[in-house]
């Protein structure tokens, strides 16, 4: 102790002596880029150990007074920090060496920020300039292929569909529960990413491992995506304007018979006598698709001073879908402000975001009357689109084209199917610096989302054998979320080597939902429609409905992160979460984490290794949860049921009854995850990247499971059961391959692989719960129409199908049973030995072995940029239900069929493929050119009116390499059952866009 005081004294004396004898000198010079020789504007120059400093001007020049012997520190984003000791010279010119990865850059984690170099969990950080641009309907499409282990899929080109994100496979059973990640927008958990305009995004931070997500407790199990929107910077105001126009076209049609081929088919197979020629030649796919034009406009204004900053933007996206009359129009207004007060100790931040959205929907997803793709594909190519008088040709009185045979043009042109949304997100936070490093923050937010749905079908569209009286529906629903969070954060460095960051907090969140709806039939006016519900004559019990529910989530949490001299890291966190939705017996859950890290390159023994700029090893463990099930699932609630006649009074009375089995043990689903990561960088991070290995174990999986009847009233109960694992590896490397004045080339290669397995079925899981990947269609109804089976010890995504064995000489389709005898389905039905589950085998897997992405960024002569990214999924199969369904000759002579039907017809098969077999399994590996963009930038130096102008030409989904026979091999990956190409998807499009943006 005594010794230490002596050392301090010595240091103090030395300092005083330096001050006493130092001699002041005026230094000037220019700072340039070492590679290009260009002068750098705004480089910060600070005298080490002081706050005295300056910055370079427009020509890269600077001037500063400093003492001889002191050190000047030159720092600039994108360049290695450079230190120069002052020996007395008056001119010091410095050439900065560019640095490719900023290890001091801050990344956003739950309830805090962290230097990139300090992270111990698996976090992907993507900044605004790395995002894809072009014709994007969804902010999540900007990160496709940008973060390894983060799979962004959109099953088709529907402008009103949202992209789906799966981080490291899905934890839990989707369909039953939500396996989407938690979105945190500007600190508001549970916010909707669709409220953010792509141009307003400052950064994405994707928390992938449980150690990172567990601070969000029972909501973190599927990963957390933190979106930070732009805020103003002090300095002159900046005005940015941008506009993009896109042209979309159908990427691929499917091979249905043309009218000519259809007639030839009738003749070839001697079926003329049962075929009724509709008299026209129609390509129904051409009839419903269009070349769609989409436009996006964005204008933003930002600026501020040392005390206050602001960022305001308005953007509008008008996206047309390639199916006629399908579109989304969205307008987003955002205002972010911040203000510092009380000697900069209090920071007030506020933001408000308002979104208006109008979606013109088309119905998809099944084989129902209004299902636009189904009605288009099946429509007889000889049927006319319009009558002679120009009206749409609905079904005629006498024709028998089959059940629910509806003209798709009638659906598209005469029906209204509209969603109108109004969303508002307001947030306000106060941060007070109580003492140096000690901050108290309170944040509140209010989110509301209103949706009005309108459906109107005038009379006649379902016409055929008589009259269709039409139908109208209106629904209005209101969703609100209130959040209040308080955190206390302490950040300190002791003795220059002990760095501590600790946070403690409380979170309160309430969700409320209410809905009102009205249905009616028998419309009396095609023009009034749902604008006056009195114009419908048929209203029944249950046509007017409303509901309301609420839930509340409360969490207490704490976290510490300590490191010794930026070398050795240890951290941990704990969150206790209570939810009103959890059953009486399980109200609170505990979510702990622990993590370790070692920055090898900061060790003294590595100081000679100049080539190594970063080498970090980190390990973490954490537990997070999923609680995305409905309110009141744990308890018995009496709802309105039947209306009966009271035998005593003779009046109608309402009978109340429970509609669900209660489960007081219902609780969150839990995911425990180990993560091991390595971050590396070589040659000033000219090559850098990371490698992650993870193992997730999800237990207490939520689902509506089968329970014994009796004694239960209903055969399904919401419960927790079973467990699954997801194990995987993620790798990425970024290299600045060329970096010269004339050209630079940055390339990033990412690879990931995830293997999911069910490890235990648990108490509730029964055979019926294991059946996944359902298919449907006319004649394909009932219990055997599933393609996947989930079982303990078996991989997720395994296709479990019958083995097709050709067509026999009677013309029946043959399948092999378990003892490899050939069976026909009709005979086996009659004989009571219907092909059973034991006759199926594992015929493929829908999970890709590996996902690869390759992004490139070129800059030529400072002005030209070229970006492109390829993405490929390899090793997965798809069950091509579209081909199975439309290759069935039975639909002739009424509905259309694919060319492939002739192959089976030639073998004597007249029937329908009604059992799922390996005949329709196909390899679906593909490589897609997701994105290609050419840009031209002009920077106007010394221009008072305009700072920069950028022109760009972009293409999305321009090229695809695959052996898959269907329209598109990429299926939405979600939950346990995926990889089925159902004919009811919105097809993908190919897009070319032109963009212009300017900054003033």
């Amino acid at each position: 102790m005594k010794k230490r005081i002596q050392i301090y004294l010595v240091l103090l004396v030395m300092g005083i002596s330096q001050m006493a004898f130092a001699q002041s000198v005026s230094i000037s010079g220019t700072v340039t880029d070492q590679t290009t020789g260009e002068s750098l504007i705004g480089v910060s120059i600070v005298i080490k150990g002081t706050t005295i400093g300056t910055a370079t001007d427009f020509d890269g020049n600077y001037k500063i007074e400093a003492q001889v012997g002191s050190t000047l520190v030159y720092s600039f984003i994108g360049y290695k920090t450079f230190e120069q000791q002052i020996t007395g010279e008056q001119v010091v010119n410095v050439a900065l060496e560019s640095e490719y990865e900023q290890l001091d850059e801050l990344i956003v984690i739950g309830y805090g920020v962290q230097r990139k170099t300090d992270k111990t969990g698996a976090v992907s950080h993507i900044t605004a300039d790395e995002l894809s641009t072009g014709a994007l309907t969804d902010p999540l499409q900007t990160i496709v292929g940008k973060a390894s282990g983060v799979v962004v899929t959109k099953g088709g080109g529907n402008p009103t569909d949202d992209a789906k994100i799966k981080i490291r496979g899905s934890a839990g059973i989707s369909g039953a529960t939500n396996t989407n990640p938690l979105y945190v927008i500007d600190g508001v958990p549970g916010a909707d990413p669709n409220m953010v305009a792509p141009g307003d995004i400052e950064s994405f931070n994707i928390l992938k491992d449980a150690a990172s997500t567990a601070i969000y407790g029972s909501q973190g199990a599927n990963g957390v995506i933190i979106i930070t929107t732009k805020s103003g910077k002090s300095g002159a105001s900046t005005l940015s304007v941008s506009s993009t126009t896109s042209v979309n076209q159908l990427a691929n049609k499917i091979d249905l018979l043309s009218a000519q081929q259809y007639k030839e088919y009738a003749t070839k197979y001697e079926l003329d006598n049962i075929f009724v020629d509709g008299g026209a030649e129609t390509d129904w796919q051409d009839e419903i698709y269009r070349t769609a034009i989409s436009q996006q406009y964005n204008i933003s204004l930002s600026g501020g001073n040392e005390q206050s900053t602001y960022y305001a933007s308005v953007s509008n996206q008008d996206n047309e879908g390639i199916i006629n009359n399908s579109s989304r129009n969205r307008t987003i207004g955002t205002l972010n402000v911040s203000h510092k007060a009380l000697n900069n100790k209090l920071t007030i931040k506020g933001g408000i975001n308002v979104t208006f959205e109008e979606d013109h929907l088309v119905q998809l997803g099944s084989n129902s009357r209004d299902d636009i793709i189904y009605q288009t594909y099946r429509r007889n190519p000889t049927d006319p689109t319009h009558n002679e008088d120009g009206s749409i040709a609905y079904q005629r009185l006498n024709d028998n084209r089959g059940f629910d045979y509806i003209n798709p043009l009638g659906i598209l042109n005469d029906e209204t199917r509209l969603d109108q949304r109004k969303k508002m997100l307001g947030n306000l936070s106060l941060n007070y610096e109580i003492a140096k490093g000690l901050n108290f923050k309170i944040a509140s937010s209010y989110l509301s989302s209103d949706k009005e749905y309108t459906y109107f079908r005038p009379t006649g569209i379902y016409a055929g054998q008589g009259n269709d009286s039409g139908e109208g529906q209106r629904y209005y629903e209101v969703r609100t979320q209130k959040t209040l969070e308080a955190t206390l954060n302490y950040n300190t460095t002791i003795s220059e080597v002990h760095n501590l960051d600790a946070v403690a907090g409380y979170s309160w969140q309430e969700n409320d939902f209410s809905k009102f709806g009205l249905n009616a039939r028998n419309s009396q006016s095609a023009t009034v429609g749902t604008d006056n519900m009195k114009s419908f004559l048929d209203l029944q019990y249950g046509d007017a409905s409303s509901e309301a529910n609420m839930s509340r989530l409360i969490g207490f949490f704490g976290r510490f992160a300590y490191n010794y001299d930026n070398k050795y890291y240890i951290g941990g966190s704990l969150r206790a979460d209570g939810s009103s939705k959890f059953g009486e017996n399980n109200k609170w859950g505990i979510f702990p984490t622990a993590s370790l890290g070692w920055n090898v390159q900061n060790e003294s023994f590595m100081s000679d290794a100049d080539w190594l700029s970063q080498f970090k090893i980190r390990a973490s463990y954490g537990v997070s949860g999923n609680q995305s099930f409905g309110s009141y699932f744990s308890r018995s609630v009496f709802d309105p049921g039947d209306v009966v006649t009271d035998p005593i009074s003779g009046n109608p009375v309402l009978v109340w009854s429970t509609q669900r089995n209660a489960n007081p043990n219902l609780q969150w689903e839990q995911t425990a995850e180990y993560n091991l990561g390595i971050d590396y960088g070589f040659f000033s991070s000219r090559i850098s990247g990371s490698l992650e290995l993870y193992s997730k174990n999800t237990t207490n999986m939520l689902n509506e499971y089968s329970v014994p009847v009796p004694p239960n009233k209903y055969p399904k109960t919401w419960a927790n059961s079973g467990s699954m694992t997801n194990k995987g590896v993620e790798f990425y490397v970024t290299a600045h391959v060329v970096d010269s004045k004339a050209m630079s080339w940055k390339t990033t290669l990412g690879a990931s692989r995830n293997i999911g397995k069910i490890t235990d079925l648990g108490e509730f899981w029964t055979e019926n719960d294991s059946k996944q990947g359902w298919i449907s269609g006319q004649g394909i109804v009932g219990g055997d129409n599933w393609t996947m089976f989930v079982d303990s010890g078996q991989g997720i995504g395994d296709f479990f199908l019958y083995e097709f064995a050709g067509i026999d000489d009677k013309g029946d389709a043959l399948y092999l049973n378990k003892v490899k005898e050939k069976e026909t389905e009709p005979d086996s039905v009659k004989a009571g030995k219907m092909l059973t589950i034991e006759d199926r085998y594992i015929a493929g897997n829908a999970t890709p072995d590996v996902e690869l992405s390759w992004s490139n960024n070129f800059v030529f002569f400072d002005n030209w940029t070229l970006d492109f990214s390829f993405r490929g999924l390899f090793g997965q199969q798809v069950y091509n239900h579209t081909r199975a369904y439309f290759s069935s000759p039975i639909f002739f002579p009424d509905a259309n069929i694919m060319e492939s039907a002739t192959k089976y017809m030639d073998e004597g098969f007249f029937g329908q493929f009604t059992v799922p077999s390996d005949e329709f399994i196909e390899d679906a590996s593909f490589v897609r050119l997701d994105y290609l963009a050419l840009g031209y930038n002009i920077n106007f130096k010394n221009n008072d009116y305009i700072k920069s102008l950028k022109l760009s030409l972009m293409g999305n989904n321009l090229l695809m390499f695959t052996n898959y026979s269907g329209a598109d091999p990429e299926m939405t990956i979600d939950g346990l059952g995926y990889g089925v190409d159902t004919f009811s998807l919105y097809p993908k499009s190919r897009t070319v866009s032109f963009g212009i943006s300017a900054t003033f």
Partner: protein, 520 residues
């Protein structure tokens, strides 16, 4: 100062419920608070009837199963229509597995009704007369569910409590359930309301209990596995009680039982399940059976689904002049509601619901025999129009479905007399003759015998859900008939030997292995 202000904000937030996780239930009533009012309490036991409606279509399958497994109806595969994964053919050919939709859904729906009834009974603690009356009513409707359940599945768990039921119950023996049901009904029926007030025809009444007792005893030898004359004596006893009631009589026009204007108040009706097209949905036989074109025949609002047809051998049982033939069935050339012929565009001929449907399914092999034209089965088969199809009929029909009616009681009594004495009493014959005469039929030369009573019952009670039960009692259900017995087509499937009861569903076994153990 500012710090204090911040702290006070937090304190307010914490005080206002920092750990409050109470739920507010808005659109329902929590179990602990139900019933809230006397009015709710007065009708709360009526939820025990809720499960009934679903039993008549594919929510609960009871009705469709009774009809399609019997020789009354066929659900033919019509090209791409009605194959539906083989779920109808399975019923037709008696080749169902324990995972068939019908087998699983009928079980679940019947036990849903039983669970609801038991949960009501568990809450009745009062022994006042009014409470006992409600108890008797709920136990009686539960007995109806159990009757259908053990009639279809044999040995099943017989539970009489909901809240104290074992988590994984065992099965009880069918014969023991028979005893429990008859005892329960015999104890209760005097307590029940009488349909002297016709409003009670839609509820578990004294007369409904008597009819159910007669039905149980008539089938007693099937349920207990041994013939017992006492069962037939009991049948006759309960039938006599019903026939002696002055407010019950046979209709002059049989079709009055199926017209919405008259069926609810019909003096022949004992117990019916009420359906209403908008508020009490669930009866869709007309949609399943009538042709696409029949929308025009009846000027309906919805287009029917062109499915179920009458099995030709059953249709052939009717004389041409039998009023029930044209009353129950839609057959022959078709006309629209204004009388104009309906022309089929494909053939250019008038559409014809030819009763001679060929085979239950249209397979490639079958088509090769007669050629594809004969197998374009759009129009084949007589359709069911027994339950009135009024103008503007929707997807759900308004019907009072006759579960028990006096004509059934008459035939039950006649059958019991035949089985007990070998002949039908003169008194009973007066009722039987009335049934024949109102159908414009003369009595068969040999009179009513055990050889022809199954047919005579069938002709009268077609489409009322009795046929499977009747065929089992007469031993014909597990014999080949029509579709199963066709020899001119491909292969003759062997009827399996356990057809008379359905297997315990896979869904039930997989969550409760005790159901596989021997019944207790």
């Amino acid at each position: 100062m500012k710090i204090k202000f911040l702290y006070s904000i937090i304190l307010i937030a914490f005080a206002a419920g920092c750990t409050n996780l109470d739920e507010t239930i808005y659109s329902g009533i929590d179990e602990s608070e139900y019933p809230q009012t006397d009015a709710q309490a007065a009708v709360s036991h009526l939820s025990s009837y809720d499960a009934l409606a679903d039993l008549f279509d594919d929510g609960g399958y009871w009705y469709l199963t009774q009809e399609i497994t019997s020789d009354e109806l066929v659900a033919p595969t019509r090209a791409a229509d009605w194959y539906d994964g083989g779920k109808w053919l399975e019923l037709q050919y008696h080749s169902w597995s324990n995972s068939a939709d019908a087998v699983q859904n009928m079980w679940n729906k019947l036990f849903e009704g039983i669970a609801e009834a038991n949960s009501i009974l568990d809450k009745i603690v009062s022994t006042e007369e009014a409470a006992l009356k409600i108890r008797a009513e709920v136990e009686t409707i539960r007995s109806l569910y159990y009757f259908w359940l053990f009639d279809n599945y044999g040995d099943v768990p017989y539970l009489t409590t909901y809240f104290s039921a074992p988590e994984q119950p065992f099965r009880n023996k069918r014969a023991d359930i028979f005893d429990s049901l008859t005892t329960t009904l015999e104890e209760n029926y005097q307590l029940l309301n009488s349909i002297e007030n016709p409003t009670y025809k839609n509820y578990a009444s004294k007369e409904m209990a008597l009819a159910l007792l007669a039905k149980l005893y008539l089938n007693g030898s099937v349920y207990t596995g041994s013939a017992n004359n006492a069962f037939y004596e009991k049948t006759i006893q309960y039938c006599n009680e019903l026939l002696s009631l002055g407010y019950l009589s046979l209709e002059d026009d049989v079709m009055n039982l199926f017209r919405i204007a008259t069926s609810g108040q019909s003096p022949e009706m004992i117990y019916s399940v009420p359906f209403e097209e908008t508020s009490k949905k669930g009866f869709r036989l007309h949609m399943r059976s009538l042709g696409y074109i029949s929308k025009r025949t009846f000027n309906m609002t919805d287009q029917p689904w062109n499915g179920l047809a009458v099995i030709p051998t059953f249709f052939a049982k009717y004389e041409e002049n039998d009023v029930r033939r044209d009353g129950y069935f839609l057959h022959g050339p078709q006309f629209d509601y204004q009388g104009a012929p309906i022309i089929d565009e494909k053939s250019g001929k008038q559409a014809d619901f030819n009763p001679n449907i060929k085979i239950p399914e249209m397979t490639t092999a079958n088509m090769q025999i007669d050629g594809i034209e004969s197998f374009n089965m759009t129009f084949d088969g007589a359709r069911v129009k027994k339950y009135e199809i009024y103008a503007a009929a929707k997807e759900n029909l308004t019907v009072n479905f006759p579960v028990f009616r006096l004509a059934d009681v008459v035939f039950m009594k006649a059958e019991a007399e035949l089985r007990l004495n070998g002949s039908v009493s003169a008194e009973t014959m007066t009722y039987v003759n009335k049934i024949w005469s109102r159908a414009n039929q003369t009595p068969p030369a040999e009179g009513l015998t055990l050889n022809n009573i199954l047919d005579e019952r069938g002709k009268e009670l077609f489409g009322e859900g009795h046929r499977r039960n009747d065929m089992i009692r007469f031993g014909t259900f597990d014999q080949p008939f029509w579709g199963m017995g066709q020899t001119d087509m491909t292969g003759v499937p062997t009827p399996n030997d356990i057809q008379n009861v359905f297997p315990i569903p896979l869904s039930a076994i997989s969550s409760n292995p005790n159901l596989e153990a021997a019944p207790q």
